[in-house]
Every structure is written in structure tokens, then in C-alpha cells.
């Protein structure tokens, strides 16, 4: 038994979620190409057109996985439904952003709404556990912070999605880390939800990895980020998710700090540029935001695949730190 779960049932949940996403992703990508929802891959010299909004397959898989987990483990019905509601609200915001484009201020505001199901259900514990200290009592502060716990990871995942497989790869590592940490911290809900997310991200990464056959779009990145935030609150694994997401938070924090707040995409200068030989170089424009990719390229230009390997290594470093954090919680 794994935290009261039958390992075979957990494996079935993981495997079926993986297969559903693996089958759905190419179908969604083909449909998007047919209807003309495509984006230009700016980091390739031949500038190919790649299907956008492929992240819809992740959303469909999360819906499937949530219903399957309710069938298998009915005692977690409320927690799973709240998680699903958070993901669906973020996905809805992502769809509008992909199809119409959202104002830089309106998008974070709409993402804050994704925390409403958590607040209304009351399925959160205002006693987050910290290393050495253990469980704390933050009744008022926690309530104030809930909107940020969902909106910050959603925006962070959205902001890292600039290279092929950057969001799906790093978030798959984060979801896998949350899975391990949930086992350490005895969080049944955390284990269940991170298992579904991990399976769908692994399958999606296969199609989204360098060179990408499809993009996740804002639909994918916002729902994945919100899902991680939802798991943090509903599964009571807040500090572990925060540590595992450190590279993503660092990226968004520096973008916001360097451009002086939330701005429209067209108002922001490009932090990198593609050289004729296919290498990506950091721009010397002082007005350009300081992104993680730009920090990576300070020393020398690199190929997209090389930057991605570095991103994955960073996510693995954070994964180790998150597991160590979980072990330090009494």
C-alpha cells in the first residue's frame, strides 16, 4: 500500500492518463493546423509554422484523470473536483488569450479568479508546514495568499514557455518532484493529483520537445501552472512546490523586475535574437527583460537544444532541493 492506495490502481491511473494524452496530443495538433491556429517558431532559421493550443490535450487528460481518480478513489471527490475547477478556469483564460489576446493586467486578474473554487470549498488548510518549524497557524495570512498561490505558478509556467519543451519538460520534472514529496509528507491528495499531471506532461513533452511538433499555447501553460498551484493548496505541499518551481519563479520575477511591472508583449523588447548559424544570442539592449534564457546566454550564444538541457538540469537541481526540503519538515 502507498499512503493507503493500492499501487496497481495508481499505476493504472498513471498509465491510462499517459496513453490518453499521448493519443490526444497529435489529434489536437492536427486539428489546430487545419483551422489555422499556428505560431511561428522564432528560434529556427527556417521559421516553421507550428500548431498552437496543443495544451488542450493536457486539459482533456486532466479532466479524464480526475474523473478516473474519482471512480477509483471516491473519498477524494471534493478535492479532485476543486482541482479540476481551478484547472478549467485557468484553461478558459488561456483559450481567450490564445484566440483573442488578453491585456497584460487583465490576464493575472482573471487568473486570480481560479482560486475561487478553493476558497468557496474551504478545502485548504491554513496550517502550512515549513522545514524545522513544522505546521504553522496562518489563518488570515494564508487566506490572503491563496490567490497568489494559484496565479503566480500559472504566470510563471506561462513565462518560461519560450523554447520548445521548456514548459512541458521543466513542469514534468516539477510534477514528478511533487509526487515524490507527497509520498514523503504523507499527502494522499498531492500524490493523486501530481500523478495525473506528471503522466499528462510526460506524454505531452514527447511532442513538444525540441524540435517541437506542437506548442502548448497559453491554454497549456496557464492550466499546467494553475494545476501546480492547485496541488500546492489542496494537497498542502506549498513550500515544496515553491522550491521545485524556483527556476520558473526566478524567470518571471526577473522579467517583471527588469521591465518594471506588467506590460503588453508588443511593448517588451526581445531579450534574445537568432543568429544566421542557428545559435541564439542574448541581446545587449538594456531595455530588454532579464529572462532566464538571457542570463543563460550571457557568456556565449548557444543552440536551442543546449539551452533546454541547461533548463532541465536547473529543474533537476530544484527537484533535489525540494526533496531535501520535504525531508526537513518535521
Amino acid at each position: 500500500m502507498l499512503l493507503g492506495f493500492e499501487p496497481l490502481q495508481l499505476f493504472f491511473l498513471f498509465f491510462s492518463s499517459f496513453i490518453v494524452c499521448f493519443v490526444l496530443t497529435p489529434i489536437v495538433m492536427r486539428k489546430m493546423k487545419q483551422v489555422g491556429i499556428v505560431g511561428v517558431d522564432v528560434h529556427k532559421t527556417d521559421k516553421p509554422e507550428i500548431p498552437e493550443m496543443g495544451g488542450l490535450s493536457i486539459v482533456f487528460t486532466l479532466i479524464f484523470g480526475s474523473f478516473l481518480s474519482v471512480v477509483l478513489f471516491s473519498e477524494y471527490f471534493e478535492e479532485v473536483m476543486v482541482f479540476l475547477a481551478v484547472v478549467l478556469i485557468a484553461a478558459f483564460v488561456g483559450i481567450i488569450d490564445d484566440l483573442r489576446g488578453l491585456n497584460a493586467l487583465l490576464k493575472p486578474f482573471l487568473l486570480v479568479l481560479a482560486c475561487i473554487p478553493v476558497i468557496l470549498s474551504g478545502l485548504y488548510s491554513p496550517h502550512p508546514a515549513f522545514p524545522f518549524i513544522g505546521k504553522t497557524r496562518l489563518t488570515i495570512i494564508y487566506f490572503v495568499l491563496i490567490p497568489l498561490v494559484v496565479a503566480v505558478p500559472a504566470n510563471a509556467a506561462n513565462m518560461i514557455d519560450v523554447l520548445n519543451g521548456a514548459m512541458s519538460g521543466t513542469c514534468a520534472i516539477i510534477a514528478g518532484t511533487v509526487l515524490v514529496c507527497s509520498l514523503i509528507l504523507d499527502s494522499e491528495v498531492g500524490l493523486l493529483l501530481s500523478l495525473i499531471l506528471f503522466a499528462s506532461l510526460l506524454a505531452f513533452w514527447y511532442f513538444n520537445r525540441y524540435p517541437a511538433r506542437g506548442f502548448a499555447g497559453d491554454t497549456g501553460s496557464l492550466s499546467v501552472g494553475a494545476a501546480l498551484g492547485g496541488i500546492a493548496v489542496v494537497g498542502s505541499v506549498e513550500i515544496v512546490v515553491l522550491v521545485a518551481m524556483m527556476p520558473l519563479i526566478m524567470n518571471s520575477f526577473y522579467i517583471l523586475a527588469s521591465i518594471g511591472g506588467l506590460k503588453e508583449r508588443r511593448e517588451i523588447e526581445r531579450p534574445t535574437y537568432l543568429m544566421p548559424d542557428g545559435y541564439i544570442s542574448a541581446t545587449e539592449n538594456p531595455k530588454a527583460p532579464l529572462t532566464l534564457t538571457r542570463i543563460f546566454l550571457i557568456r556565449r550564444p548557444l543552440k536551442e537544444g543546449e539551452i533546454l538541457k541547461g533548463f532541465y538540469l536547473l529543474a533537476l537541481v530544484s527537484a533535489v532541493l525540494a526533496i531535501m526540503t520535504a525531508l526537513l519538515i518535521p
Binding site: 515549513f130 522545514p131 524545522f132 557568456r299
Partner: protein, 105 residues
């Protein structure tokens, strides 16, 4: 370990950092920043555990329990803000230093 083996190992590590796998160096440097920032976060929790959590009813009367919580949250929040600023400072120093070295060469 024989002398020849040491040279091979040195060559391998140099290749890993400066040669073909050029992505390893920035990843290790930024990973180092993250590890250091994490260590300071853990230290911050130790400080809170040692000095902030022990603030008990002895320091405040029973009617002032709300004030006690406010002081605890205030100090912890201040420490957390300081930690975030330290993270910001560390990365800024790294970016400026590397930029300066590159401009010199």
C-alpha cells in the same frame, strides 16, 4: 589513480565546462545560485524556529495574543522579504560580474 588517468579526467571535466557541452557551465552557475538561495531559506527557517516561534504568552498578556501573532508574522514576513531581496541581489551581482568579465575579454 595513475597520473595518466588524472589528465584524462581533467580533460573530460574541461570539455564538460568549456568544450562541447557549453550549456553545463551556466546551468551549474545558476544552479549554484539556487542552491545558495535555498540554503539561506533554510537558515531563515532556523532563525524563525529559534527566535520568533519562542515568543510566548510570557512576553504578552493573554488579551494581547493577537498582537503576539502580529509580531511573529511581521518578523517572519520581514525576514522573507529580506530573503527575496538577497536572491535578487545575488543574481544581479552574477549578471553584472559575468558581463564585466566578457566586456574585458
Amino acid at each position: 589513480m595513475k597520473h595518466g588517468e588524472v589528465i584524462i579526467l581533467e580533460k573530460k571535466s574541461k570539455k564538460l565546462v568549456n568544450g562541447k557541452d557549453k550549456w553545463v557551465r551556466p546551468a551549474l552557475e545558476i544552479g549554484g545560485i539556487l542552491a545558495f538561495v535555498w540554503a539561506t531559506m533554510i537558515f531563515m527557517f532556523l532563525v524563525i524556529e529559534e527566535f520568533v516561534v519562542p515568543i510566548t504568552e510570557d512576553d504578552f498578556s493573554s488579551s494581547e495574543s493577537f498582537l503576539r501573532s502580529l509580531v511573529q508574522v511581521g518578523i517572519s514576513g520581514g525576514l522573507a522579504a529580506g530573503w527575496l531581496y538577497f536572491w535578487h541581489l545575488l543574481t544581479s551581482v552574477y549578471v553584472q560580474k559575468v558581463g564585466k568579465i566578457l566586456r574585458k575579454t
